[in-house]
């Protein structure tokens, strides 16, 4: 499964929750969930991933049983757990770098590919920066508890330095992108595009057709 084209992995991960939602009754979500669990069992460290899915799904099940009769709670819970299971499977196999290569190979511009790749790289950096700012402000004696006004002042004192500093670093990012030729209006050639095959393309079209058929049956 890890050798599949990223588009095929995404199509399969979309198909299971889509069918779980579109086909009426509890049987389809139960089968889709079983399929998602089987897929996760084929990934490295499957038990850890399944445990993560269970931990993510548990609050939803609790809240659903608090809010709804058991039959509806179970139906929505199965659908949500299928969604989480399918995402755990695709998250285990899909490398962002391979997806970017696949997008560029299919004619997407390098800028569009950067939006995904650049974001995945920026998020941990900004989170680490946020942690440092939080620790620095607490070292300076910032009060984060107490009256509402005190807490709101703390929000201001934590957020502003982070946002202003990342905006200040924007010039460096722009320079880096210009240096790497992202400003040039030329199509890039991917270095190592993921392999695709007619069978995988047919499987993707089949997945799309199954979703449309389920949607049509649901509407009818």
């Amino acid at each position: 499964m890890s050798g599949l084209h990223p588009y095929t992995q995404l199509a399969l991960a979309t198909l299971l929750p889509a069918l779980a939602w579109l086909v009426p009754g509890p049987r389809a979500p139960a089968i889709a969930l079983a399929a998602a669990v089987a897929l996760v069992l084929g990934t490295p460290r499957p038990l850890r991933r399944l445990a993560a899915v269970a931990v993510a799904a548990a609050p939803f099940w609790l809240f659903l049983f608090l809010l709804h009769p058991p039959a509806r709670a179970a139906l929505v819970g199965l659908r949500l757990t299928t969604l989480l299971g399918a995402a755990a499977w695709v998250g285990a196999l899909l490398a962002p770098g391979r997806l970017v290569e696949a997008l560029v190979a299919r004619g997407w511009s390098a800028r569009a590919a950067y939006l995904l790749g650049g974001t995945l790289a920026a998020v941990p950096l900004v989170r680490a920066h946020a942690r440092r700012i939080g620790e620095a402000q607490r070292c300076r004696g910032l009060a984060t508890r107490g009256a509402l006004v005190t807490r709101l002042r703390a929000v201001h004192a934590l957020v502003l330095p982070l946002v202003l500093s990342v905006l200040h670093q924007l010039d460096e990012r722009v320079l880096a992108l210009e240096t790497r030729g992202l400003g040039a209006a030329v199509h890039r050639t991917p270095l190592d595009p993921p392999a695709d095959s007619p069978a995988q393309a047919a499987a993707r079209w089949g997945a799309a057709a199954a979703c449309l058929a389920a949607l049509a049956a649901r509407i009818a």
């Binding site: 950067y114 920026a122 900004v126 502003l160 202003l164 924007l170 992108l177």
Partner: protein
């Protein structure tokens, strides 16, 4: 799209995803997960704002796919923020507070049907408790869901708008000059 705007989007998405943990020690029920979207819109316009919102949802969904159905909320937030910037509502706290409350109402109106149809209103502990409370006082299922969404949204969006207004006013002249729309939105032209 200019390269500066392309570079801004991942940064704005990262702001969306980093602020919640940063303000966690205050104990306030704030997500601030649209701050980057509102800021990107005020700085660079609606296309950048909408793209920031969509990329935020996609990135968040890689970790937790239950965010995916709410992509439309991010789009609405960006369009609302664009209208607010055009109307000069970021110029003063006195105007950004009601604008934020308005966004809270709009965001709740958009997210309620999604929350009800897809998640049965069980999106988070706070919303579930508020929905239960709404039912106890005699609201319908959908009404209780809307009540839960509104109460959890309006404070968050109000703080978001005030923070973005504060950032626009605190931006150094040199940085602000690279975003003419931001200067206009903050009334610094």
């Amino acid at each position: 799209m200019p390269l500066r705007h392309i570079a801004l989007i991942p940064v704005a998405v990262a702001i969306n995803l980093a602020l919640s943990a940063l303000v966690d020690p205050t104990g306030l029920p704030l997500f601030l997960d649209t701050t980057g979207t509102v800021l990107a819109t005020a700085l660079a316009g609606p296309v950048v704002g909408v793209t920031t919102g969509v990329v935020t949802t996609v990135t968040n969904s890689l970790r937790n796919p239950t965010f995916l159905p709410f992509v439309v909320v991010q789009v609405i937030v960006a369009l609302y923020a664009w209208a607010a910037a055009r109307l000069g509502l970021f110029r003063r706290v006195a105007t950004s507070v009601p604008a934020g409350i308005g966004l809270g109402v709009l965001a709740a109106a958009v997210s309620t049907p999604i929350s009800y149809a897809v998640f049965g209103c069980a999106t988070s502990g706070g919303v579930t408790l508020l929905t239960l409370l709404g039912r106890r006082v005699g609201m319908s299922d959908l009404g209780a869901c809307a009540f839960g969404s509104f109460v959890s949204d309006f404070g968050d969006k109000t703080v978001t708008f005030v923070l973005v207004a504060a950032v626009l006013h605190a931006l150094p002249r040199r940085t602000a000059a690279r975003f003419p729309l931001a200067l206009r939105a903050a009334g610094r032209t």
